[in-house]
């Protein structure tokens, strides 16, 4: 009797699984072939996407729960953690190994070229220019973001309008790099030479008002890098400010009072107390922004396409793969990017080990 009901349940589960698969595939086929209004497609797609994932978990869980006890203890973690791990391996772990493999081959992916792609990555003129520019981004971008963020955080802490100021500086965080690119292209706009021309870009209008000559700023070699870095500073200072501000607020009031009673002035308090107290956050914020500048792509892509001496590593990666079809070289560049973040990865792992999150 019990055996019969078990069999029946197993059959039910198999049927349920079949129905789920049919439903998922049906949705996929519908979306692929449907030629109706876009809005319908979008709504169906969202419902199908979210519904499928929820349904898959429910069905897989029901199957795991119906297993006998010892098997269940293994099957349940597999259902819970399995999908995440499968995706992590598919999208990050294996691709890393495959990119490493590809980086030793030529553009067809069949002829072994040993280290030729790495020779390109470290010796080609355009790559050297990119390395120099990424260095500019990492040094000046990070210094400006963290420095300005810190100044604003400390100053805003003393103002009644703290919230307003912080919101305004933080706001660009919600804007895409492409959007920021348009915003700043408009700032740097140049109308050309001629009589009666009024500059419509704020930078050139300001330069003209101060008696200077309007220019196509983005075409000025070397210095145009700093105009692009300004965009990142505009976008990321808010991030530095928010993190530093919250850690400044964590400094105990007694510490500051004691220093004031002992006769420390505000500058001494800033350098001797505030800076050491928030050192951890400063390191965190700087590391995040350095990694960010290393991988930077969108701003350069939209503003100059990497021309006029503004190329960066991530843009050269894109150009090698998608403009020149050199996947071996592109993979080598990606590996170089990966190697550059290894120290941070090691630091994270050490921190994680020390936290003893796992017993």
């Amino acid at each position: 009797m019990a055996k019969g009901s078990k069999l029946l349940r197993a059959a039910g589960l198999v049927l349920l699984l079949a129905a789920t698969v049919a439903l998922l595939y049906g949705g996929y086929a519908f979306l692929r072939d449907f030629k109706g209004p876009k809005l319908v497609v979008v709504l169906v797609a969202i419902a199908w996407g979210l519904g499928s994932v929820a349904l898959l978990y429910a069905v897989l869980n029901a199957m795991a729960e119906s297993l006998p006890r010892p098997a269940r203890a293994l099957a349940l973690p597999l259902v819970f953690a399995g999908p995440a791990l499968a995706l992590l391996f598919w999208f990050l772990v294996f691709p890393t190994l495959r990119s490493l493999w590809l980086s030793f081959f030529d553009e067809t992916g069949t002829r072994f070229v040993a280290l030729a792609n790495y020779r390109f990555a470290f010796a080609d003129r355009i790559m050297l220019e990119s390395f120099r520019n990424n260095l500019l981004w990492m040094v000046f971008g990070t210094l400006l973001c963290v420095g300005l963020g810190l100044v604003i955080a400390v100053l805003a802490d003393r103002s009644r309008l703290e919230k307003l100021y912080k919101s305004l500086v933080f706001m660009p965080m919600a804007i895409s790099f492409v959007g920021a690119g348009v915003i700043w292209k408009f700032m740097y706009a140049y109308k050309g030479e001629g009589t009666g021309i009024q500059e419509i870009g704020l930078l050139n209008a300001a330069v003209v008002a101060l008696g200077g000559k309007a220019q196509a700023w983005l075409l000025v070699p070397f210095w145009n890098n700093f105009l692009l870095i300004a965009i990142m500073v505009w976008l990321q200072t808010g991030y530095a400010m928010v993190i530093l501000s919250s850690s400044i607020k964590g400094i105990p009031a007694e510490l500051l009072e004691a220093a004031r009673i002992d006769g420390a002035d505000e500058l001494q308090i800033f350098f001797r107390i505030i800076i050491p107290a928030i050192e951890g956050s400063l390191v965190t914020v700087s590391t995040t922004i350095v990694i960010f500048s290393l991988k930077l792509f969108d701003i350069v892509r939209v503003m100059t396409g990497g021309n006029y001496g503004t190329n960066v590593i991530a843009n050269e990666f894109y150009m090698q793969q998608f403009t020149y079809g050199q996947s071996g070289r592109a993979s080598a560049i990606a590996i170089v990017l990966l190697v550059a973040v290894v120290p941070v990865m090691a630091y994270n792992l050490r921190q994680f080990g020390e936290r003893r999150a796992f017993k």
Partner: protein, 375 residues
């Protein structure tokens, strides 16, 4: 982690010191905030201006300002030789100088109109100009449409262009961003629960991999994943974007949610277990409701990231199903000087993330802190 947070909150003060250093601090902050806001304000104002005005004057001219306004016309007397110096209203200048405009008194300027044969000058006076009333929604109509759009350039010529179909781009962005936000959270929450409260072989080693993957640049994965998608015929589909954003977003999602879920009190799981709850029902009825703050933080973080992403969309969608960022980037390439389209497109791409950002800023800040590499 929560212990630290509550300790910080206990000693948190309103400010570093009594708010006494008012004026200078506020002046510096106001200047910084002005510099931070002007670029966005310029784009917002420009997006509502008539295309012809955009080409002829800076966006700041919509605000009250003093400028030269044409007040009348002057015909040159027949006897005057246009090739020599000409004296008008007491000022003497050559044709070239008159064409540039000559100030004849503190608030009056004469400027030659057109070529030598017109023999006409425009008289201009420096006057206060109020708020420009000529604001329009035409730019938005043009950029949203996918058909033919015409507008007038700086000289008044009518120009016809293909619209960039931003209405489709916005829909595509929604279809990409909503599932790409919810799916990774769901998958990561299941995994975080397993890592925190289940026993299975390789648990620690696998989590170390998650931590290691936190800072991996996604460039490393793009070429191999693109090859997989090409084989599966997924390029250009929403599904490809969901999978990619889920895969790339998972390390951070699992890490943040694990930090939160592993700190939930053990007793609630034990008593639920004694009441006969299965892991699945505990997850659904306890873990999810209790983790709402962490889920919301990550959701906002991921939504802004996905909505604003350009690289992943560029590679896996290409020109099919363009999202707002790729549509905008394409427009920069095709119509670099059509500022009326560019500014309204840029603003359309910003509305939703800005709304989400201002409405849920607190959660966003929390997500940022949890997501900082050090954790």
């Amino acid at each position: 982690m929560r212990g630290v947070a509550s300790r910080v909150r206990a000693t948190r003060r309103k400010s570093l010191e009594p708010r006494r250093s008012g004026l200078l601090v506020n002046a510096v902050l106001a200047a910084i905030c002005l510099a931070w806001t002007l670029p966005t304000l310029g784009v917002l104002v420009t997006s509502f201006r008539d295309s012809r005005d955009i080409f002829n004057s800076g966006w700041w001219t919509v605000f009250p300002h003093r400028s030269w306004v044409k007040v009348g016309e002057l015909k040159l007397e027949p006897g005057i030789d246009v090739d020599g110096p000409m004296t008008l209203e007491g000022a003497t200048a050559t044709f070239a100088e008159w064409r540039e405009g000559v100030q004849v008194s503190a608030s009056r300027k004469l400027q030659w109109y057109g070529n030598k044969r017109t023999r006409t000058l425009h008289a201009q006076e420096l006057r206060w100009v109020g708020f420009s009333p000529k604001l329009t929604l035409e730019n938005y109509e043009g950029v949203l449409s996918g058909g033919e759009v015409s507008f007038r350039d700086g000289n008044g010529n009518t120009i016809t262009r293909r619209g960039n179909n931003f209405s489709d781009a916005v829909l595509n962005s929604l279809a990409v961003a909503v599932p790409s936000t919810v799916i990774p959270i769901l998958i990561a929450a299941f995994a975080a629960y397993a890592f925190a409260w289940m026993e299975f072989p390789g648990r620690k080693g696998l989590f170390v991999i998650v931590v290691a993957l936190l800072v991996v640049p996604l460039q490393i994965a793009l070429i191999p994943v693109l090859r997989d998608f090409t084989k599966l015929g997924l390029n250009g589909s929403y599904l490809a974007m969901w999978l990619a954003h889920t895969g790339f977003g998972l390390p951070l999602a699992v890490y943040i949610l694990f930090n939160y879920i592993s700190q939930l009190p053990r007793d609630i799981f034990e008593s639920a277990f004694l009441d006969g709850a299965t892991p699945f029902s505990m997850f659904r009825l306890l873990v999810i409701p209790l983790s709402i703050p962490a889920l919301a933080s990550f959701a906002i973080f991921q939504f802004l990231w996905v909505w604003n992403d350009y690289l992943v969309a560029l590679i896996f969608l290409g020109d099919k199903n363009r999202v707002v960022t790729s549509a905008l980037a394409a427009m920069v390439g095709e119509k670099g000087q059509d500022w009326h389209f560019l500014t309204s497109g840029a603003f359309l791409s910003m509305i939703l993330p800005l709304a989400v950002f201002f409405a849920l800023q607190r959660y966003f800040v929390r997500g940022l802190m949890a997501g900082s590499v050090k954790g």
